[in-house]
């Protein structure tokens, strides 16, 4: 909302510098985005009257123009076509800053001699003054413009650009802002005195108004003026409208806009002869009814839209836009003026469906008061009579089915103290509320009955009044205190807790965290790891963000691929985030997942040498580390084997280099290398991507944080190496499990695996270091040998393992 300070001064004395006023408005809730000063650059430019026009002695197209500036006269050389004696024009003295009409650059006017004749200055076009793009001729000022007065004093203004919050439609008007300024600066509002002659016939003999749906139209006022002369509105009105960002159209339309900016009430003028039978019916549109709106668009209406109709057809879209057929045009002579109140939600729905937001609809949907309709229509009728001639009919049609009692609220000092934490004197409270237009009746020592003025529809309960007090004194006035009192019991969220531990561990393992979009494209969703039905957004911004992800992997692989384009070294990325699954009837399931990818060389290029490329075992090493810290023992079994995972997940993984992570019989995640086909699908620069995924909630069920201290054995450990030969298909984990099942064995490490010429085909050789230790005594060689013999016996019996000779 743009507010002209010149205009505002009609209703309120502005006693503060505008910058300070803007600050007060901002602090009290109406943010001032900017202050635009019109005419700031017009130094040395004043109003002159053309008193003589003579031909230039040396040029046909140029004239010598004498301009009266009151105390002096100036002669300029001028080529403008609209030079006429008696016109008032802006005159720029040498030294003025002007805009070059060709280049648009600012320049300083210098003394000039044009074709041997000296020019004392310059008469200016609108473009040269920076007012508009118009450069067809000189800017012609209204005849009443005072000669000799600086142009800035006559045309200059300062326009505040306000950001009005949706609860304050009253602030979308100059009078509304005047009330704000009144309260903030302790001044009084002056409302326009509205009086006009009602010389026409009784209005009820001319028009009738019927509201079919009073729920959607709480009030409808209409006035009638005949014999008007449509033409441009006066310059002062045009200036004000332009300052507020509205284009002047003609005097009738300008007056409706002017009163809207003045009172906040949208008005509409109908060309009366086009209104069938002089009858206004406010009703829901019939299905399929058509209306061409003022913007020239043919619109099909629906029954949930409110129409203003005549006896036959819709002539306007209530509260949104008028119809083209009843528009005021140059030859219109009779006006039916509408000032009504429509239900906010209905207006909002209609303008949303039609994608048609107007100055009117914005005000109606925010909920303006029905009590505004009458003062506004009287003001507009007065202006039409004064500025467009014509006779107003006697009376105003006022159908007001939605009339209600003014809202009253009981306010106590203790309520103010309770919410703001300050003691406010009753006197101060009454002062503030009165200055904002509220009625105050003190009903007790610390109690006041407050009547809300009709235009403050946003104030409905006690807290609203308390905010009025707080914002008017300023929030700076509220003391700063610290919370005291009871603390709520702390309830820990174990999933979040585990997630945060994993996050720190992943960083500790050298991974970079990423955060990717929850919404992904159908294409990316279907590329890999799409577990099941994904939720779709009904109104996606683009196909790129249409589905809620069901796996973090597609985004991780995408970001891996895009980073590979510029990273030399290996990349380790992880994300902790949610995936979204259709729930049954209730909200979707949102599962917290940990996903990680690793690809490329294990160490950056270095003089210290290569360490190879990340593979399955790097990912597994990380998983092992996480689980070790969490006290979780997991098994790993090939995904292909009796998988619980759907085929899209299996198909995304290398069938021989992937595993399910199983804890106590439950699959909590997957681990492996990507299927080679993903390389192309994701445009990955490297064949091998190792990755893993852990479902945090599932993992949580197996995390045991209870740890018990075990004393460190005082007795030495001894370790012996075993070289075993056994079938290639026997998993190492089985060998380890058997060895570890012996009591005196405390550790086993596989330190070599060999398959090749040295041993029989179908066999592999394992080198295992076994550590033996007793908590009670130093083990003898004989004891160790005895255990080792038993170990070998079981390995042979259960796995067919033999000692390598």
């Amino acid at each position: 909302m743009k507010v002209s300070s010149n205009w505002l001064r009609e209703y309120i004395d502005i006693t503060l510098p505008l910058k300070d006023l803007a600050h007060r408005l901002t602090m009290s809730g109406t943010e001032v985005d900017s202050i635009e000063v019109i005419g700031e650059a017009w130094k040395g430019i004043s109003i002159g009257e053309i008193v003589a026009v003579e031909p230039h002695p040396n040029a046909d197209r140029l004239k010598l123009v004498t301009i009266d500036l009151g105390k002096e006269q100036a002669t300029v050389v001028c080529g403008a076509p609209n030079v006429r004696i008696g016109e008032k024009v802006p005159f720029a003295r040498v030294g003025s800053q002007l805009v070059d009409s060709r280049t648009g650059q600012t320049f300083e006017l210098r003394p000039a001699t044009i074709r041997d004749v000296a020019s004392d200055g310059m008469a200016c076009s609108e473009k040269e003054l920076g007012i508009s793009e118009s450069h067809e001729g000189l800017m012609i000022l209204p005849p009443a413009a005072p000669v000799g007065v600086p142009l800035a004093d006559y045309l200059g203004d300062a326009v505040l650009d306000l950001e009005v919050t949706p609860n304050r439609p009253d602030c979308l008007s100059h009078i509304g802002i005047a009330w704000e300024v009144a309260a903030l600066t302790k001044r009084h509002v002056r409302l326009p005195a509205v009086q006009y002659p009602e010389e026409g016939p009784d209005i009820n003999s001319l028009i009738s108004v019927e509201i079919e749906d009073p729920a959607l139209c709480r009030r409808y006022c209409a006035s009638f003026i005949e014999g008007i002369q449509v033409g441009p509105s006066p310059a002062w009105m045009q200036q004000r409208l332009a300052a507020c960002g509205m284009r002047p159209i003609n005097n009738i339309v300008d007056i409706t806009n002017y009163v809207m900016l003045e009172y906040g009430q949208p008005l509409h003028a109908f060309d009366f002869p086009q209104v069938g039978d002089g009858k206004i019916v406010v009703r829901r549109a019939a299905h399929g009814e058509k209306l061409t709106t003022l913007d020239g668009v043919d619109r099909t209406l629906a029954p949930d839209m409110l129409a203003i109709a005549d006896s036959r057809i819709p002539i306007a879209l209530a509260g949104v836009m008028g119809g083209a057929d009843t528009e005021i045009i140059d030859i219109s002579r009779t006006v039916l003026l509408e000032s009504a109140n429509f239900q906010p939600a209905s207006i909002r729905r209609t303008s949303t469906i039609l994608k048609l937001r107007s100055e009117a609809s914005v005000r109606f949907e925010r909920g303006i008061s029905p009590d505004l309709a009458l003062p506004a229509i009287r003001r507009a009728t007065q202006l039409i009579v004064e500025l467009a001639g014509g006779k107003a009919a006697r009376g105003i049609v006022d159908v007001y089915p939605g009339q209600s009692e003014p809202c009253t609220i009981l306010l106590t000092c203790s309520a103010v103290r309770g919410l703001l934490g300050i003691d406010m004197k009753m006197e101060q409270m009454v002062d503030i509320l009165t200055s904002l237009g509220f009625g105050c009746e003190v009903t007790g020592v610390a109690e006041v009955k407050v009547t809300v003025p009709y235009w403050r529809m946003d104030v409905r309960q006690r807290v609203d009044l308390i905010e009025e007090l707080a914002r008017t004194v300023g929030y700076d006035f509220i003391p700063t205190t610290m919370l005291s009192g009871r603390l709520p019991g702390q309830v820990l969220n174990p999933v979040v807790n585990l997630r945060e531990r994993l996050r720190d561990m992943m960083v500790g393992c050298g991974f970079q965290e990423i955060i990717s979009y929850s919404l992904i494209s159908k294409d990316r969703l279907n590329k890999a790891f799409n577990e099941r039905g994904a939720l779709r957004v009904a109104n996606p911004l683009s196909a790129e963000q249409e589905y809620l992800r069901t796996s973090l992997f597609p985004s991780l692989l995408y970001h891996l691929a895009s980073n590979q384009r510029h990273e030399e070294a290996g990349i380790r990325l992880f994300e902790l985030g949610r995936i979204y699954m259709e729930g049954d009837g209730d909200l979707p399931e949102e599962r917290e997942m940990l996903n990680a990818v690793l690809s490329g060389s294990r160490s950056p290029l270095s003089w210290l040498g290569e360490k190879g490329e990340f593979d399955f075992f790097d990912a597994k090493g990380v998983v092992d580390t996480l689980f070790e810290r969490l006290g979780v023992a997991a098994q790993f079994r090939p995904v292909a084997h009796e998988s619980l995972h759907p085929s899209s997940v299996r198909d995304s993984l290398h069938p021989g280099r992937s595993a399910e992570i199983v804890i106590e019989g439950t699959v909590v995640g997957i681990l492996g290398e990507t299927h080679p086909r993903l390389c192309e699908v994701f445009d990955l620069a490297r064949q091998t991507v190792a990755l893993f995924e852990i479902d945090i909630e599932k993992l949580l069920r197996h995390v045991r944080d209870g740890r018990t201290y075990r004393p460190v054995s005082r007795f030495p450990a001894s370790s012996r190496d075993l070289a075993l030969v056994l079938s290639r298909t026997v998993p190492v984990s089985q060998v380890k499990d058997i060895i570890m099942s012996f009591q005196l064995v405390t550790d086993t490490v596989v330190f070599d695996i060999y398959v090749g010429e040295q041993i029989a085909s179908g066999k592999k050789s394992l080198a295992i270091r076994v550590t033996y230790q007793s908590p009670t005594h130093t083990l003898t060689d004989a004891e160790v040998e005895e255990v080792e013999k038993a170990v070998l016996a079981r390995l042979s019996e259960e796995l067919g393992a033999t000692l390598r000779s």
Partner: protein, 345 residues
């Protein structure tokens, strides 16, 4: 004999000086002082001498032996010293070569900001809780005093979830973390003191300052006797801890349908110190969060009696914090996940 001893001593001494390492020194020891060495062979001949002669030569030989042993020890010390020096010289390196690379992991800057902010509030007794990102219209709007067709809905452009025809409730991606105010109060009785970090979504064309997904932190404190002063105090303390104690904090009136009075908090711009610059949009102030006293309608909705309980709530955009702090001029960088960007934090 005595002369022979003197000769041996002179001979041995000069040979000792010629030794250059511990191995030669050991050879020298064997040659002169060993069991088959020169000195021993002289001493062996003592048996064939007269008693006097034996005494004189024996004493002289022992003296020579003692002296040579002394010389040996000294020589051994200096040779060891030299060898150590040589070994140090040999094992010297170019200290300017880079070290073994250690894999360094990093948190995403948004995660860091969330952790930092939540820790500040946790230290003031706020519990950290989380909530669903896919929400019902009821929690995101209705229960927060933003009914259907309310003009304030324009403040939150919404992604709607495609739901089956028979679903009567509207499902959406939460546009703010505020629905958790309702869920929290539904689940518990006062006192409530919690912060809620999480992702939020806006149906909004993206540009340098707008994202369709970003993070918010919601705060809520409800109990008997909580005032606007407490809101100011808590948020002032938060701003001081996050931005430093020399920052000025400004509270102004603003509007959010679920609070009354409504508050916007800003801090003075640390670039221009209030004079106005590009960072602060020439206002001198940088908006940090929206807040206010919980609206009585919201309290009623969860069966909290607004005549007994009051409270305050706030909501803060997380990405803004690292943007302001590090001078990041494009919010989209956060989810682009370019390592060249992420590595800087």
């Amino acid at each position: 004999m005595l002369e022979e001893l003197q000769e041996l001593k002179a001979d041995a001494t000069s040979a000792l000086e010629k030794t250059t390492n511990l191995r030669e020194l050991d050879e020298w020891r064997v040659q002169y002082l060993g069991r088959k060495g020169h000195l021993t062979s002289i001493l062996r001949r003592l048996g064939s001498m007269s008693f006097e002669e034996r005494r004189a030569v024996g004493a002289a030989a022992n003296e020579v032996k003692f002296e040579l042993e002394e010389a040996l020890r000294a020589r051994e010390g200096s040779l060891k010293e030299r060898e150590l020096a040589e070994s140090l010289e040999r094992t010297s390196i170019d200290v300017t070569l880079p070290g073994y690379p250690v894999a360094l992991g990093r948190l995403h800057p948004v995660t860091r900001a969330i952790k930092e902010i939540c820790e500040i509030f946790a230290s003031m007794g706020f519990q950290v809780v989380e909530g669903p990102e896919v929400e019902w219209d009821y929690y995101n709007f209705e229960a927060l005093n933003i009914p259907q067709d309310h003009p304030a809905r324009d403040m939150w452009d919404t992604f709607w979830i495609d739901t089956p025809e028979d679903e009567h409730q509207l499902m959406l991606l939460r546009t703010h973390t505020s629905p958790m105010q309702i869920r929290l109060m539904e689940q518990t009785r006062p006192p409530v003191r919690a912060v809620v970090p999480g992702k939020v979504y806006r149906y909004e064309a993206t540009d340098a300052t707008h994202e369709s997904m970003f993070h918010q932190i919601e705060g809520l404190a409800v109990d008997q006797g909580i005032t606007l002063g407490d809101l100011k105090g808590t948020l002032f303390e938060f701003a001081r801890r996050l931005f430093g104690s020399d920052r000025k904090v400004r509270f102004r009136c603003d509007y959010f349908p679920f609070v009354e009075p409504g508050v916007e908090m800003a801090i003075d711009c640390w670039i221009c110190r209030g004079a106005g610059c590009r960072l602060c949009g020439h206002s001198g102030w940088i908006e940090i969060l929206g807040a206010g006293m919980v609206h009585p309608e919201v309290l009623r909705r969860v069966n909290y009696d607004p005549d007994i309980y009051t409270g305050f709530a706030f909501g803060l955009g997380v990405e803004r914090i690292p943007m302001l702090r590090y001078g990041i001029d494009d919010i989209r960088l956060f989810f682009g996940n370019d390592l060249r960007f992420l590595r800087q934090f």
